[in-house]
């Protein structure tokens, strides 16, 4: 009886071991990633991401990348809540607006420790949008790396400019832009209603996403924030608010309804032909080109005007970065995948397949990207290379542009002076710090 029992136990153990051995050989480290992209879908960026995951998993058979797509506006709030409860993903994507929150929260790991310490100076310098590369740095630590940059651009219709006899190169200052917008504002059927407005920018306080023209106006005029203290109500801030108000009330080149419009409204109406010039995220270039009934070939990008004609206005740096969770148990593998996503092959994929402006100069200089179809990226790269700007990531910059839009609303429908309105915006910013 004892022998039988011994045999049964020993065979069971052997069998268990025999099954467990091959299983353990195939055991994988699963790295979870929260992003707003879904690799199962078919847009350019999603296809590019899918390709990166496949190639990384092929090169690292012991690691599987598990993507859990999220709504982008909820990404950071959910991540911080998950960080607090100890259940956050290994990799998180973060946009410009929430970079301050990520850095201040302590929820991101130092990437110098994970992989960047071994990089050469040349590798580092290859990321030519320095404001974007340096943004996630605090106290000598780097908390994120840029996947692709974005910016806000001034889109214009070439056909309307031609009809109005305006040379795009002649628009160097905001006053010149207003003069051009006056010529472009038209009532074609003479029914007393404007059919095409000269200029459009979203001035709602919802879904602003850094799309206002305010940023360039303020930044061109001096230091906007000093150690997280805003300087909005100085001469430049007052002038910026007044210009927006005048474009609606005095010059009649922008409809009053823009104070109720967010970025999607302006984009939709620009595509529909309601505006001749409009501020918009640059990432929408291909969408506008494909959908515009007035012909995608008529779409152009203006350099940002400044207060004086001596140089162009600053090109804002926005975009998406990726970080590793500070408490990740798979930090090493997560770091390896982050490095993979910003490698030369990946940057090429983000550009060629995903339609993004490359983050590496070495990729931008590749002969394949000299094709005319990539010409539209040049205006943005030139802007970033000469005069780029990124909001201070050490501050809580959530809704900073909503405060400015609110200031315009305060003046137009609230009866405040621009100075009073900007002082309120300063208080709102300070309350968030």
């Amino acid at each position: 009886m004892k022998t039988q029992l011994f045999r049964l136990v020993s065979r069971t153990l052997l069998a268990t071991f025999a099954f467990a051995l091959p299983l353990s050989a195939f055991a994988q480290t699963v790295v979870t990633m929260w992003t707003f992209l879904d690799p199962a879908k078919t847009t350019g960026r999603e296809v590019a991401l899918k390709g990166m995951i496949d190639s990384f998993e092929k090169a690292n058979p012991g690691v599987r990348i598990k993507v859990e797509p999220q709504v982008f506006s909820e990404l950071m709030a959910k991540f911080l809540a998950a960080h607090n409860t100890g259940s956050a993903p290994d990799i998180i994507w973060v946009n410009t607006e929430n970079m301050g929150a990520l850095v201040k929260s302590g929820a991101a790991a130092d990437l110098n420790e994970l992989f960047l310490r071994g990089w050469t100076k040349e590798q580092d310098a290859d990321f030519f949008v320095r404001a974007g590369w340096d943004a996630p740095m605090a106290g000598g630590k780097r908390y994120a790396v840029p996947l692709f940059h974005a910016t806000t651009s001034l889109f214009y219709r070439k056909d309307q400019f031609k009809e109005a006899g305006i040379d795009p190169a002649s628009i160097r200052t905001w006053d010149q832009l207003v003069e051009a917008a006056k010529k472009l504002t038209r009532d074609n059927d003479k029914d007393g209603r404007v059919d095409i407005w000269g200029f459009g920018t979203p001035l709602s306080t919802e879904r602003t996403g850094g799309t206002t023209a305010f940023t360039t106006m303020l930044v061109a005029g001096g230091k906007v924030w000093d150690n997280c203290k805003p300087n909005y109500s100085g001469d430049v801030g007052v002038r910026a608010v007044q210009l927006h108000v005048d474009m609606i009330n005095k010059h009649n080149v922008m409809p009053k309804e823009v104070i109720a419009n967010h970025v999607d409204d302006i984009a939709d109406q620009f595509i529909a032909g309601r505006y001749a010039i409009a501020t918009m995220p640059f990432a929408r270039y291909s969408q506008v080109q494909a959908q515009a009934k007035w012909g995608g070939d008529n779409l152009g990008v203006l350099p940002w005007p400044a207060w004086t004609a001596d140089k162009t206005g600053p090109q804002q740096v926005q975009g998406w970065w990726a970080a590793v969770w500070s408490k990740s148990k798979n930090a090493k593998q997560a770091g390896a995948f982050l490095e993979w996503m910003i490698g030369q092959d990946a940057v090429r994929a983000w550009t060629v397949t995903g339609g993004q402006v490359p983050t590496r100069m070495s990729v931008w200089k590749e002969p394949a990207l000299r094709a005319p179809k990539y010409d539209y990226m040049k205006a943005v790269i030139d802007g970033w290379s000469t005069n780029s700007f990124l909001v201070p990531t050490e501050c809580n910059t959530a809704r900073f542009d909503a405060d400015w839009n609110q200031a315009v609303q305060r003046v137009i429908v609230g009866g405040k002076t621009p100075k009073e309105a900007m002082q309120e915006a300063e208080k709102a910013f300070l309350a968030r710090q």
Binding site: A77, L80, H83, A101, R207, R274, V413, R432
Partner: protein, 292 residues
């Protein structure tokens, strides 16, 4: 475990499961919320006890004061019109003819559409340059106004959104009450020569007291706390004219990541809800006392 229905413990045993659920899903989050409201809790991280400082911040905030005014205006107008329309629909569509049943189904359509989708549809309708309303009314020479860019217009649009969606809900609740009234009472009143208005005043209204109270309280709580209408239709603007307390709370907590003041505001909104309900109940008791 069996408890004798005659036992004094029996009612408590029946109520206990519901109480336990309430405790888990309402009580615990409430306590956590109050706890957060007494701490600095930026970016979802507790970093120190601050006492009532968050409450002081919230009470002194001009944005919160504006949102309180916006919530009051929105709630009062939405409640009055939604209840009025709901009652009228319930009275008119109470009969079970084919036409009335069909009309009920049509009236219910806005209520079955997701709040977010409904508000987005209305945004397009109210849009000045691309909106259906402007296109439809333009040929009649109506003023070329931008509804959503005007504080009063935006508030009216917000109230319209609430009435458009929630009148059907009020109708259902009130119609259920109407169906419970014995038709013989109306027949007897008719025999006595009572007019339609007299029957409504002396039979319908008194017997609808409880459904009316439930409808008013339910709608009031909904309007005071609703987020979607303002978030999608007006974005709280212009000039914060339509930024309700729900929207202010959402932005404070989930956009600005200031969980301390957001929870303080949430607790104050809860108290505000309770005060409103208490006032409503008191008004009904007074009326019942006067009627008796």
């Amino acid at each position: 475990m069996h408890i004798d229905p005659r036992s004094s413990w029996y009612p408590y045993r029946l109520v206990l499961p519901v109480l336990a659920i309430e405790l888990v899903f309402v009580g615990v989050p409430l306590v956590i919320g109050v706890y957060y409201s007494l701490h600095k809790a930026d970016y979802f991280q507790l970093s120190g006890f601050v006492g009532l400082a968050n409450y002081v911040t919230v009470i002194q905030s001009p944005i919160v004061r504006e949102s309180l005014a916006a919530t009051a205006i929105f709630s009062v107008f939405s409640l009055a019109v939604t209840f009025g329309v709901g009652l009228a629909l319930a009275l008119y569509l109470e009969r079970d003819t084919r036409l009335h049943v069909f009309a009920r189904a049509v009236v219910l359509v806005p209520y079955t559409i997701a709040m977010l989708v409904g508000s987005m549809l209305l945004k397009w309708i109210f849009s000045r340059d691309a909106g259906f309303l402007t296109m439809a009314l333009g040929p009649f020479g109506l003023p070329d106004a931008s509804i959503l860019a005007d504080p009063n217009g935006a508030m009216a649009a917000l109230v319209y959104n609430a009435v458009w969606r929630d009148s059907a809900f009020a109708m259902i609740l009130l119609m259920a009450g109407l169906k419970g009234i014995d038709p013989q009472m109306y027949a007897a009143a008719r025999v006595d020569g009572a007019s339609a208005w007299y029957r409504f005043r002396r039979i319908t209204l008194p017997l609808l007291r409880v459904p009316i109270l439930i409808t008013l309280i339910r709608l009031l709580i909904h309007f005071v706390n609703v987020l979607t209408f303002a978030l999608i239709l007006t974005g709280g603007g212009p000039n914060n004219a339509t930024q309700t307390m729900g929207l202010a709370m959402y932005r404070m907590g989930f956009v600005d990541f200031r969980l301390g003041p957001a929870n303080a505001l949430a607790f104050l909104v809860l108290l505000f809800n309770l005060v409103l309900i208490a006032i409503l109940l008191r008004l009904f008791r007074q009326r019942r006392g006067a009627a008796a």
